[in-house]
């Protein structure tokens, strides 16, 4: 489909800016594994401190890249399926806010005034610019959502008897989750943290801040994941040369995500005081509910891929797998998506370990956790973002992909790296290796009296895997930025692969309406979070003043 000049420019900016920043994010990923394994035993390298680098790594890779991509990809799907361009002013304003917010937060981190990690747990205090910048990024991402609702309603009016396309449902579900969950973090940031970091308010309730953060923080992972799920359902079967086994399975999966993504955030707080065990176990059980749509997806996609392989003449119970187009340059997206799915098998299962209430005692805040989430956000999420970013870059700029062979092998190399890296971190976690710790200074420094030889092997595996991941990242950058530098050779377009459904599907009204699902969503959130927030308020008796990460004495303003 032809695309207007203004939309094209905005989308290209929204794809280019985060990938450019990703070079910093991935550099600090490599530095983490080097520091952690004790290869270097220093607080900083090249003027950037370990915890400052960790903040850059988390904020860029997990917040900036994912949010920019979700917005750009949302624009592309809404435009492609409703055949209408989003509002020009809204789109521009949103991009401006997101870029300016990112710049503000990045400046605060690079100046060393916001080394509080991407979870920014108070009472550690960052520079106000960090909080304001992050809030601008989030608010910028709300604007297209409101615009897309209008586009969806207009489309509905014009096509009353047609089922809403799965991609449109997926995008709207995703941004509904995002909008609702970010309300909590916006309250935490704008009402609690900003006045407190400016010195207008002396002390705040830390347990309330943590509970609001995790109201947002777990739903955030579905905001990362759902664009990949949209690609799995609407593109992967087509890329494999087949059809989607069931479109309604996809609709059911997305609506279950809508109702269960948020009311499970307390499973990040099993070790926290002040919140009752009843709330914790309820949210633990609900987390198993949110595994159901992933089971549905695994089945539907596997069935679709098998169908595609059999169309290509495959036989046998398992050998059909080898008929899939794994290393074909022309369908390189297949490689990105299938590797993401393979990683997600392990990512999903280890996630269930984390969510399993008292079993969480074994792994909470150990390196098992980053081991797990590099298999999810570093797996299907990251690979789908990389693959789709270069795909859209090539289409929107009308340029052929530079070094297509590199681009094709990137997801495979990345997957090998992540598997080794995560195996190391998870093994380390099971023997007590802490996350987010510059272990090269103490625990993995042989000349320190805190040296702990148990963690040598696990952190070395992390280093080996991290090195491979970094290499895959470099190859991707060569391909991505190489493409940017090429000459235009075709008309700019947006053309997404579209999977037809295998069976003729009638429109099911319940699966084509947001209202009942939104009502259930609101009810469950209220029932689970009202007691959590009331616990946090009632069982926390002392509020906390702000602290700089460098200083055990609180910041006091007269």
């Amino acid at each position: 489909m032809q695309v207007s000049r203004s939309l094209r420019t905005i989308l290209l900016i929204e794809l280019f800016v985060p990938i450019l920043l990703l070079t910093i994010g991935i550099y600090h990923g490599l530095m983490q594994v080097i520091y952690r394994s004790g290869v270097i035993q220093r607080t900083s390298v090249a003027g950037l401190d370990y915890y400052q680098g960790l903040t850059l790594h988390g904020v860029i890779n997990a917040i900036v890249l994912t949010t920019f991509f979700a917005v750009a990809f949302g624009h592309a799907t809404m435009f492609f399926y409703t055949k209408r361009e989003p509002n020009r002013t809204a789109t521009f304003l949103s991009m401006l806010l997101m870029v300016a917010g990112t710049g503000l937060a990045a400046a605060a981190i690079l100046a060393g005034k916001a080394s509080v990690l991407y979870t920014f747990y108070p009472p550690l205090k960052a520079h106000p610019a960090f909080y304001i910048g992050t809030a601008m990024l989030i608010i910028g991402s709300w604007i297209p959502y409101l615009d897309w609702i209008g586009m969806y309603l207009r489309w509905k009016k014009e096509n009353p008897n047609e089922s809403t396309p799965v991609a449109v449902i997926g995008t709207l579900v995703n941004f509904t989750i995002w909008f609702v969950c970010t309300l909590a973090v916006a309250y935490e940031v704008l009402v609690m943290l900003v006045p407190w970091s400016l010195g207008w308010v002396q002390e705040i309730n830390i347990m309330l801040a943590r509970t609001l953060f995790w109201f947002f923080g777990h739903a955030l992972v579905y905001f990362w994941l759902l664009p990949s799920y949209i690609m799995f359902y609407t593109m992967l079967p087509k890329l494999a040369g087949g059809k989607l086994y069931s479109g309604n399975a996809g609709r059911i999966a997305f609506f279950i995500f809508l109702i269960l993504s948020i009311p499970i955030g307390v499973h990040h707080q099993f070790g926290d005081p002040s919140i009752g065990r009843g709330v914790k176990i309820t949210q633990s059980i609900l987390t198993f509910g949110v595994a159901i749509p992933s089971f549905i997806t695994a089945f539907t996609i596997a069935a679709s891929l098998e169908y595609a392989a059999r169309l290509r003449g495959a036989k046998g119970l398992w050998s059909w797998i080898w008929k899939l187009p794994f290393f074909r340059k022309d369908v390189f997206l297949f490689g990105y998506l299938i590797n993401g799915l393979i990683l997600f098998i392990f990512g999903g299962l280890t996630g269930l370990v984390n969510a399993s209430y008292s079993l969480n005692n074994v792994v909470h805040n150990t390196s098992f956790i980053p081991g797990h989430f590099h298999l999810t956000v570093g797996g299907p999420v990251f690979l789908a973002i990389l693959g789709m970013s270069i795909y859209m870059l090539s289409q929107l700029s009308g340029k052929r992909i530079f070094a297509p062979v590199l681009n094709t092998i990137v997801p495979y190399l990345w997957t090998v790296g992540v598997l080794i890296f995560s195996a190391g971190l998870m093994y380390g976690g099971l023997i007590g290796e802490p996350r987010r710790t510059n272990m090269g200074l103490t625990y993995l420094n042989p000349s320190s009296e805190q040296f702990n030889p148990y963690w040598v092997v696990s952190s070395m595996l992390g280093l080996a895997g991290g090195g491979i991941m970094f290499t895959a990242g470099l190859l991707y950058f060569i391909s991505f930025f190489g493409t940017c530098l090429r000459r235009r050779s075709a008309e700019p377009v947006i053309d997404l692969p579209v999977s037809e459904t295998l069976h003729e599907e009638r429109r099911v009204p319940l699966l084509d309406s947001f209202r009942p699902w939104l009502a259930i969503m609101g009810l469950i959130i209220f029932l689970t979070y009202a007691p959590a927030i009331s616990d946090a308020l009632n069982n926390t008796n002392r509020k906390a003043p702000p602290y700089k990460p460098t200083d055990p004495v609180p910041v006091v303003r007269k």
Binding site: D49, Y51, L54, L117, Y121, P123, L124, N205, I206, A249, F270, G271, D272, P273, S274, R277, I281, I285, F288, G289, A291, I292, F295, I296, F299, A303, L352, S356, Y357, S358, L359, N360, N361, V362, H364, N365, T366, I431, G432, P434, R435, R436, T437, N438, M439, L441, T442, Y443, N452, N539, T540, N541, R542, A544, Y547, K548, P549, T550, D551, P552
Partner: protein, 150 residues
């Protein structure tokens, strides 16, 4: 409406989920594995100390601050049951006891509590596993279980 494969998959998914949820309750009931108790906070938790309740029962009140735990070293007889209370006086800290599956957060204004039994002699290391500022990687404590010697 459902085809045979879809039905089988739904049954499998529900069975697997039921198995997981059963395991959670099994660990909770039969194995007595639970998460921190939820206690109302008061000022007495801000004083670090070890208290002996009777011959086999102890209570250790941990206070975390940038960048150490108090008490830094506690001695406990083999075979005792120990209640651990953890709070923080400044920022959020973590509290992980090796090999004992004790995993708590130290949060200002709140107190985490769990109970653990030490049946084997040894030095049980505690590390802070939540980022708490530039000295985070130094933050350790020990529980030494060696007395009375067997």
């Amino acid at each position: 409406m459902l085809d045979r494969y879809e039905r089988n998959v739904i049954i499998t998914a529900l069975t697997v989920s039921a198995l997981f949820i059963f395991s959670i309750f099994y660990a909770l009931g039969a194995k007595r594995q639970d998460v921190t108790e939820c206690l109302p906070y008061n000022k007495t938790y801000e004083t670090a100390r070890v208290e002996q309740i009777d011959g086999r029962t102890y209570q250790i009140f941990y206070v975390a601050r940038m960048w150490n735990f108090e008490p830094a070293i506690s001695y406990i007889p083999v075979g005792s049951e120990v209640d651990l209370f953890v709070t923080s006086l400044d920022v959020v800290h973590g509290f992980n006891v090796f090999d004992k599956n004790v995993n708590l957060m130290a949060v200002p204004g709140g107190v985490s509590k769990t109970t653990v039994k030490f049946t084997e002699p040894g030095v049980y290391k505690i590390v802070c596993h939540e980022f708490c500022g530039t000295g985070h990687q130094n933050m350790e404590a020990e529980i030494i279980v060696n007395y009375p010697r067997k």
